[in-house]
C-alpha cells in the first residue's frame, strides 16, 4: 500500500530528529543536574543523586524567597490567563462582523506583538512614573507608586498574550461554519443562548488553547516585566538575577520547578482539549460535523 519513501525523506527525518534533540537536550541536562548530590557542582558528572537542592529551595534557606515570587507569578499567570481568554473570545466574536475601528484593533495587536518588548516595557514604566508624579503633585504628597504586579505588570503581560489570543480566535473562526449559529437563531435562540450552547461548546478546545498560551506566556515572561513590574520580582526575574552570581545547582533546581509548573499546565490543557474532542466525537452531536 505504501509507496517507497524518497531519499529526501530520510535526510529530512534525520535533520528533524537532530532539531528535536537540539530543542530538548540542554533542557533535559539541567533537569538531571538539579538532582545533584549535596557536593555536586554546576556541570556533569553527577556527584551522587539527591533532592538536596530542590529541598533547599522549599526550605527557603537557599538563594531567594522562592515562596513569595512563586505565589506572585502564579497569581499573575492565572489572572492574565482569565483576562486573555475572555477578551480574546469577545474580540474574536466582534471580528466576525465588520465594525468601524476593526483595522485599528488588528494593527494594534500585530504591532504589540512586533514592537520590541523592551520598548513597550519602558513605555509602560514611563507612563506609570508620570501618573505617580501627577498624583504626588496634585492629590497626595505621600503617594508611593501606582506601579505593581496587578497594574503595570498585568498590563505589560496582556500586551504580549492578547495578540496571540486574537490570532488564535481568527484561526478558529476561519474554520467555523456560521450556519450552525443561524440554525440556532432560527430555532429561537437568543444571541447569548446561541453563543453559550452552540458556539462555545464547539470552540471550547481552542479556547483552552488560548488559556494555555495566556498562562505559559505570562509565567515565563521576562522582557516586558523587566521595567514594568515595579518593586517586586516574578520567578523568571529572580532566575535571571541568579544567572550572574550562581555557583551551585540551586539555579537548576529552580529552573526545574518552574518547568514542572509549565509542564503540569501544558499536560492539563492538552489533556482537557483531547477529552473535549473525544467527547464531541463520541456524543454524536453533529455540531462538529459541519466543520469538516
Amino acid at each position: 500500500m505504501k509507496e517507497g519513501r524518497p531519499r529526501s525523506f530520510y535526510v529530512l527525518a534525520i535533520f528533524f530528529a537532530a532539531y528535536v534533540l537540539f530543542l530538548y537536550g540542554p533542557m533535559i541536562a539541567i533537569y538531571v543536574l538539579s538532582f545533584q548530590g549535596p557536593q555536586g557542582g554546576l556541570t556533569f558528572p553527577m556527584n551522587g543523586v539527591s533532592t538536596y537542592w530542590l529541598a533547599k529551595l522549599f526550605q527557603g534557606t537557599g538563594i531567594i524567597d522562592l515562596g513569595a515570587s512563586f505565589r506572585r507569578s502564579l497569581l499573575l499567570g492565572v489572572i492574565v490567563m482569565a483576562v486573555t481568554v475572555v477578551l480574546s473570545v469577545a474580540a474574536g466574536m466582534a471580528f466576525r462582523r465588520k465594525f468601524r475601528a476593526q483595522s485599528i484593533l488588528f494593527y494594534s495587536a500585530i504591532a504589540s506583538l512586533i514592537v520590541p518588548s523592551i520598548i513597550t516595557s519602558l513605555g509602560i514604566s514611563l507612563e506609570f512614573r508620570i501618573i505617580d508624579d501627577l498624583i504626588k503633585a496634585h492629590w497626595n504628597e505621600n503617594f508611593e507608586t501606582s506601579m505593581g504586579l496587578l497594574t503595570s505588570g498585568l498590563g505589560a503581560h496582556l500586551t504580549w498574550t492578547l495578540p496571540f489570543g486574537l490570532l488564535i480566535m481568527f484561526a478558529i473562526f476561519n474554520r467555523f461554519d456560521p450556519r450552525l449559529e443561524e440554525a440556532a437563531r432560527d430555532l429561537g435562540a437568543t444571541p447569548w443562548q446561541a453563543f453559550r450552547h452552540v458556539v462555545l461548546p464547539i470552540i471550547l478546545p481552542s479556547v483552552i488553547g488560548i488559556g494555555l498560551f495566556g498562562f505559559t506566556l505570562s509565567w515565563d515572561e521576562l522582557a516586558r516585566s523587566s521595567q514594568a513590574i515595579g518593586a517586586v520580582n516574578t520567578l523568571p526575574l529572580d532566575l535571571q538575577g541568579l544567572t550572574t552570581t550562581v555557583t551551585n545547582p540551586d539555579i537548576y533546581a529552580l529552573g526545574t520547578i518552574i518547568s514542572a509548573v509549565s509542564f503540569a499546565v501544558i499536560t492539563l490543557a492538552l489533556g482537557t482539549i483531547h477529552m473535549l474532542n473525544k467527547r464531541q466525537a463520541a456524543k454524536g452531536s453533529d455540531a462538529g460535523k459541519g466543520l469538516v
Binding site: 529526501s8 525523506f9 527525518a13 535533520f15 532539531y19 528535536v20 530543542l23 540542554p26 533542557m27 539541567i30 554546576l42 556541570t43 556533569f44 477578551l87 469577545a90 474580540a91 466582534a94 462582523r97 465588520k98 465594525f99 468601524r100 475601528a101 485599528i104 494594534s108 512586533i114 514592537v115 520590541p116 523592551i118 520598548i119 513597550t120 519602558l122 513605555g123 509602560i124 514604566s125 514611563l126 507612563e127 512614573r129 508620570i130 508624579d133 498590563g155 496582556l158 500586551t159 492578547l162 486574537l166 429561537g188 444571541p191 494555555l212 505559559t216 515565563d220 521576562l222 522582557a223 523587566s226 523568571p236 532566575l239 535571571q240 544567572t243 539555579i251 529552573g255 518547568s259 509549565s262
Partner: protein, 319 residues
C-alpha cells in the same frame, strides 16, 4: 464599502427584532455595532492603555531633559545628543552607537539566516513528508512544547554543556582534539547566536508550516509531470508559495533579536553591547530620556526593516 456595511447593519436588527416578537418581549435588542464595540472595546482599551499611550510617552520623554536622579519635563534634545556623542567628531572611526548597531545587525543577520534554514526544512518535513494527520500534529506539538517553557531556563540549560568544564569541552579534551578548554563556547557571540536560534526557530517554523500546508499538492505533481526536477520544483513552486510564511517568520525573528537584551545579557556574560542592552543600561542609570531616545531609534530601525521586508510580499493580502 461603508455604505453596504451600513445597509447590512440597518437591515439586520430588523430581522433579529422580527424573530423576537414571537417570544415574550424582553428589553429592546442592542444594535449590532454597539455589540461589536462591547465585544472588541475591552481589548482595544488594554492596547490603548498599555501599548499605544506608552509608545507616545516614549516619544515625548525622549525629548525631555534629565539630571542625575529625575526627569525634567522641559524640551531638550539631550537624550539624542548624548546617544550620538562623538559620531561626527570621531569620523571616519565609528562611534559607540554605530558600532553597537552594527553588532546588533550582525547578530540579527546570523540568527535570521540560521533560523530560516532550520525553520524552512523542519516545516518542509512536517508539511510534505509527514503524511498522517496524527503524526503531523504530534510532531508539531513536539516542536511547540519548549515554546511554552521558560526562556531563561532554556538559556541556562547551555551552561552545563558549553562551560569551561562542560560536556563539550570535557568530551573534546578526552578525545585529545584540544588540550585547553575552548573559551569561546560560553559567554560569547557564539553562545548568544546559539541560544537565540534555540529559542526562536519556533517563530520561523510555524508561519512557514502554515504557508506550506496550504499549498495545493496537485501543483507539485503538475510540476513533476511537466518535467521539473526536485530542485526546480522547490525553487519555482514551493519557495514562492511559502514566501508569505517566510516573510512573517523573518519579521518575528528580526524584531525579537533587534530588541533582545536578555539573551544577549545572559549568554554574553553581560559583556556584549546591543541595541536593547543600551536601553536597559540607560534605564538602570535612571536616564529615562536617553533610554527613550534609544527606544525611538530602535523603533525606527525596526520599522524600516519591516517595511523593506513587506515590500517583498504584500502582507495585508496574505493574511
Amino acid at each position: 464599502m461603508d455604505t453596504s456595511e451600513d445597509i447590512l447593519q440597518q437591515a439586520s436588527p430588523d430581522l433579529v427584532r422580527g424573530s423576537d416578537t414571537a417570544r415574550p418581549a424582553k428589553a429592546a435588542r442592542l444594535s449590532p455595532s454597539f455589540v461589536s464595540w462591547l465585544q472588541a472595546g475591552p481589548m482595544m482599551l488594554v492596547f490603548l492603555a498599555f501599548f499605544l499611550i506608552p509608545l507616545v510617552f516614549v516619544v515625548i520623554v525622549s525629548f525631555w531633559d534629565y539630571n542625575e536622579y529625575q526627569l525634567l519635563p522641559a524640551f531638550s534634545g539631550r537624550g539624542y545628543t548624548d546617544t550620538f556623542e562623538g559620531c561626527i567628531a570621531q569620523l571616519p572611526d565609528l562611534c559607540t552607537i554605530a558600532k553597537t548597531y552594527l553588532k546588533t545587525l550582525k547578530l540579527c543577520f546570523l540568527v535570521w539566516a540560521i533560523t530560516l534554514f532550520i525553520g524552512f526544512w523542519v516545516a518542509y518535513f512536517l508539511a510534505f513528508h509527514v503524511k498522517s494527520k496524527t503524526w503531523q500534529m504530534g510532531l508539531s506539538l513536539l516542536c511547540t512544547i519548549p515554546f511554552w517553557t521558560s526562556n531563561v531556563i532554556r538559556m541556562i540549560a547551555w551552561i552545563p554543556l558549553l562551560g569551561r568544564n562542560g560536556l563539550v569541552n570535557s568530551g573534546l579534551m578526552k578525545t585529545g582534539l584540544i588540550s585547553q578548554p575552548l573559551e569561546w563556547l560560553l559567554f560569547s557571540e557564539f553562545s548568544v547566536v546559539l541560544a537565540l536560534v534555540h529559542l526562536f526557530t519556533f517563530f520561523m517554523v510555524v508561519p512557514i508550516f502554515n504557508s506550506m500546508i496550504r499549498i495545493d499538492k496537485s501543483l507539485i505533481e503538475a510540476a513533476y509531470d511537466a518535467g521539473a526536477t526536485g530542485l526546480q520544483t522547490l525553487v519555482n513552486v514551493i519557495v514562492p508559495l511559502a514566501k508569505p510564511g517566510i516573510v512573517i517568520g523573518s519579521i518575528f525573528v528580526i524584531t525579537i533579536v533587534m530588541g533582545d537584551f536578555i539573551t544577549i545579557g545572559v549568554m554574553g556574560g553581560q559583556q556584549i553591547a546591543a541595541a536593547g542592552k543600551i536601553i536597559e543600561t540607560r534605564v538602570n542609570a535612571l536616564q529615562f530620556p536617553a533610554a527613550a531616545a534609544n527606544a525611538v531609534i530602535l523603533l525606527v530601525i525596526t520599522f524600516l526593516i519591516i517595511t523593506m521586508m513587506s515590500r517583498i510580499v504584500d502582507i495585508k493580502k496574505e493574511l
